[in-house]
Symmetry: C2
Subunit: 585 residues, 2 copies
């Protein structure tokens, strides 16, 4: 028996296996996951495992290594989150999200830090040796909402898209703030005196860390897209590039002390559109599947490790400090959300309701990031107190808040996610309004969201696509693609119903819907189609439509010295009709 | 800049990235890979990289760590090989493969060992201090044909299936022999005296190592299949189990000093059939895709590392010893193939031609396994000589033999792999002959290959399927499945040609082909279909057919005291017709 030799990969494989089997176990009984969130069950499994290890060895089980967490477990989850991020609601609410993530987090850090310092002044609690700086340091690590925990809970309760993206986006983007504040206070703790220069440098760092992360991420993302231009002959390694470049962006950002989370999200969001167009359908299935698989396993491992690490003798149970930490976390978050939403609502027509505010405040779960950060603290005599407080806050938020949020959402009748995807008709209307608003903004000279979106889209189609897409030279009209897809789908269903050869010849019918661009006709077509299409296919079609309907508007600028208005469009449309007619012959 | 923190994952990612980019680079120019095998190009890239590292640092570049090779790089390649192993030719030639792998390898080990010992006795070469045992140890590591190198070359030259499986199967299965002999001689080298008991124990070990590997592999394979019965609700982690269990089988075998390669191959071959039936189609695509991707990257990394490790100062260039090693490797392999094939041909009707024998002998490439084993040798004063000799043998076989084997195959007009998959008609004929031969063997009382195959199939459908497959209770007739697939395919093509609604109604036509089981009708149908089906789809259909056509024969034993003959079959057929009619209404 030679265990030493295979120990490392063997134990890693066994942990992953345990995680996967636990996941299967929970799903064997359908009732369990619908009552208790999976994250709670996994922590529970971890607690049992930790108890067993503790009982057998009579010493604390190994805690989750912060390096393992930050280098191996966190990236897959964030990559998955970034890659599947619904970009429209994200960018529509980017201002609000940033406000919550940056101002809200700073508010929480200082709020919690100063109030806990106040508690430390009470003589009865015997905490007078915890300095203000240490309290602020603790505040900086406990204030950050955790994307892993939020994702695990919010994926199960299906609140409406806006609410989801507000909580989830905040949890992702507050990483930059947390990293800066945590490192700032940690370095302050080790300095003899603090100069005002250092404080200003800290403020400057926010921008460097956040924007640097975005830059690193985007540059890796575009490189990835560019690389997949050349993989036509070796399809089999295409998925690899998506993972390699994303991971490199994360590592590079971490190496330069930038925000790795922000970098990997920018990378994923930046590359997605181009990579999808370049790689084969099977590669894309593999990428999506593997990303989900990987993030799901990482997520499971993190919660199990959280449970395992809780058991042991790393804790100093000063209950006043711990209880006040939980209370302050709740209070300051609630206050922060109230105040910030007040300002947000003044500038928006589509306001955040008080129910939504409650869920945003209540959904501020803490998780493995806090946990890893507290173990990364330099050794000082109260570290064990901080570990105990962090553990209790995490368990409280995950168990109490995580388990009650679903009943609360039901009770408050919070607006849910709509079950069905928007119809093609709605989609066309939304697009139409987008163009309209962009036009209005253009005329009124107001540089709003729609204006920038339009400019970005223009830049994309003019330059980026040419560089990053393989088949830009011979673009197949996307509407023809959708039409083909519909036809194929229709044919399959006819075949499955055994009606091949008997049904009416649909092409002409669909064709007319395509050629006339009036939207009411499209709606009629759509309602008939929807009976025969499953949501997945519709989703895909809508993505293609969404990506390409811009082409219709871009008939050239209203006035241009070099071209006559509407010069290129008619020929293109004629070409599309030609392609279609060629197909149907 | 905090490089230390991210060093390990960063460097791994960079190496993988380099490997992938090198692969892309080779395929950018179509001419290059068709002349030079990819393995040579990769070694060349490695040599350049190694040269650069050597030039910059002025010390030997890092050699490939044997642990990394055996624990991380080799398993994906062997898993891929085992999972995609064509099982019919493999089991048809298992006797010949085992003969080559076991007897052939022993022949080579002792042949090379003793002849090199003879060379060492020549005073002019100054090698008298290399003992017989050391020569045999060296023989045991240099004799083994390398699966990675063989796969890399033979995948590109497309020889006929039998020849391919003979060389490739041998390269995989000789691992057990190599491991035993290598460890035996290594322990002998360290013993003061060798007793005859030790020698006999060594012989016994062959069986333990080989059969133990098979047992470990099969038990993990069946556990994997059993686990995938319960993954219906969490499709996303299904692919994981395939990888986890295979890897565990490899590690467990290695842990108990059994053959990891044999274990992982048995695991993959054992689980494949059941896992495929249990997991979803998308999961299966992911499994196949990821396996190919992973093995392709491992393969690339291995050859690059081979190149890098060649550069440096680890070598003792005693040219007589090195040259005679190359010569003896060639001679003993050629002799071994000749002698063994002589015996094989006496017992087979379908003999191995002399051209085939030449290619088998010439295709005995050495690769990274020898290389890793020679670095694992305990330190003694001639280790550097062995390293030099191994390096030269590997480079010689990969470059000279690898590059000339394609022209030689062309020159000798070796029978090639047939380009098209066998038609459904041929497939049915082959099945028919199988049943016929099984019947003949049954009657004549001869327990041959077909008899055992039939028994195994019976055991499988009677017990294994019930335990390992999820949907055994409600099996969908496979022929109905194939029919549906054909229909679907047909419908899509009609849609693509724009003829939906105009073409003739095919169902009845296909239906009749299905209902009448005479094979000539099937051939006619088949020829018409083949024009419209791509090889991939055909392949898939044939797999389903191959797996299920056994059902037709199993009408119950010819005579049985408890049932009347032909009791169950008619009802089943009636049911199938019913299903079909229901579909077409």
């Amino acid at each position: 028996l030679d265990y030493q030799h295979v120990q490392v990969p063997f134990e890693i494989t066994l942990w992953i296996m345990l995680a996967s089997l636990a996941k299967i176990g929970f799903h064997l009984y359908n009732k369990l996951p619908s009552v208790v969130p999976e994250s709670c069950l996994l922590i529970f499994v971890g607690l049992i495992m930790g108890g067993i290890i503790y009982g057998l060895n009579d010493r604390s089980p190994p805690v989750m290594d912060s390096d393992i967490f930050f280098l191996y477990l966190l990236p897959p989850i964030v990559l998955d989150a970034g890659y599947f991020m619904p970009s429209r609601p994200f960018f529509e609410n980017i201002g609000t999200i940033l406000l919550y993530a940056v101002v809200g987090t700073i508010w929480n850090v200082f709020g919690i830090g100063f109030s806990l310092y106040g508690i430390c002044q009470v003589k009865a609690f015997r905490l007078q040796d915890v300095s203000l700086l240490h309290n602020l340091l603790f505040g900086s690590l406990i204030a950050a909402v955790d994307p892993v925990a939020v994702l695990a809970v919010f994926e199960e309760i299906h609140v409406n898209e806006k609410l989801h993206i507000l909580v989830f986006g905040e949890s992702l983007l507050n990483d930059a703030v947390t990293v800066v504040l945590y490192k700032l206070f940690r370095s302050f703790c080790e300095m003899p005196t603090i100069k005002s220069v250092d404080v200003f440098a800290g403020v400057g760092k926010f921008f460097v860390v956040g924007l640097g992360g975005v830059l690193v991420g985007l540059s890796f993302g575009f490189t990835a897209a560019f690389t997949t231009r050349f993989t036509k002959d070796i399809r089999v390694i295409e998925p690899l590039f998506v993972f390699l470049y994303s991971y490199l962006s994360y590592l590079t950002a971490e190496m330069f002390h930038l925000s790795g989370i922000v970098a990997i999200i920018s990378c994923a969001m930046g590359m997605k559109r181009y990579v999808e167009a370049n790689i084969s359908l099977k590669s894309h299935t593999t990428v999506k599947y593997f990303m989900k698989m990987w993030s799901s396993v990482s997520d499971t491992l993190i919660f199990i490790f959280l449970g395992v690490s809780t058991i042991g003798e790393n804790h100093e149970w000063n209950w006043p400090y711990i209880c006040f930490t939980v209370i302050f976390c709740l209070i300051w978050r609630a206050l922060g959300v109230l105040v910030l939403t007040f300002f947000v609502n003044r500038f928006h027509v589509n306001t955040i309701t008080s129910k939504d505010q409650f869920i945003i405040a209540y959904g501020g779960l803490r998780g493995a990031i806090c946990f890893s950060l507290v173990f990364l603290l330099p050794d000082f005599h109260r570290k064990k107190l901080f570990i105990a407080a962090t553990t209790v806050v995490i368990l409280f938020t995950v168990f109490v808040q995580g388990m009650t949020i679903r009943p609360l959402v039901d009770l408050l009748a919070v607006k849910r996610k709509r079950e069905s995807a928007p119809t093609v008709g709605e989609q066309i209307h939304i697009r139409f309004l987008d163009h309209l608003l962009a036009g209005i903004e253009d005329i009124s000279g107001h540089w709003g969201q729609y204006y920038w979106k339009d400019k970005l889209e223009y830049f994309n189609s003019k330059y980026l696509q040419k560089i990053l897409l393989r088949e830009y030279d011979q673009p197949k009209s996307s509407i023809v693609l959708v039409y083909e897809k519909l036809e194929r789908k229709h044919a399959i269903e006819l075949a499955q119903a055994g009606q091949l050869g008997h049904g009416p010849a649909h092409p002409s019918f669909l064709c007319s819907a395509f050629l006339c661009s009036s939207s009411d006709r499209a709606v009629i077509t759509d309602q008939k189609l929807e009976d025969t299409l499953n949501p997945d296919v519709l989703d895909n079609m809508q993505e293609i439509l969404a990506r390409n309907l811009y082409r219709i508007r871009r008939t050239g600028p209203a006035y241009n010295r070099h071209t006559l208005p509407g010069d290129s469009e008619p020929t293109e449309r004629a070409k599309e009709i030609l392609i279609l007619r060629h197909k149907s012959l």
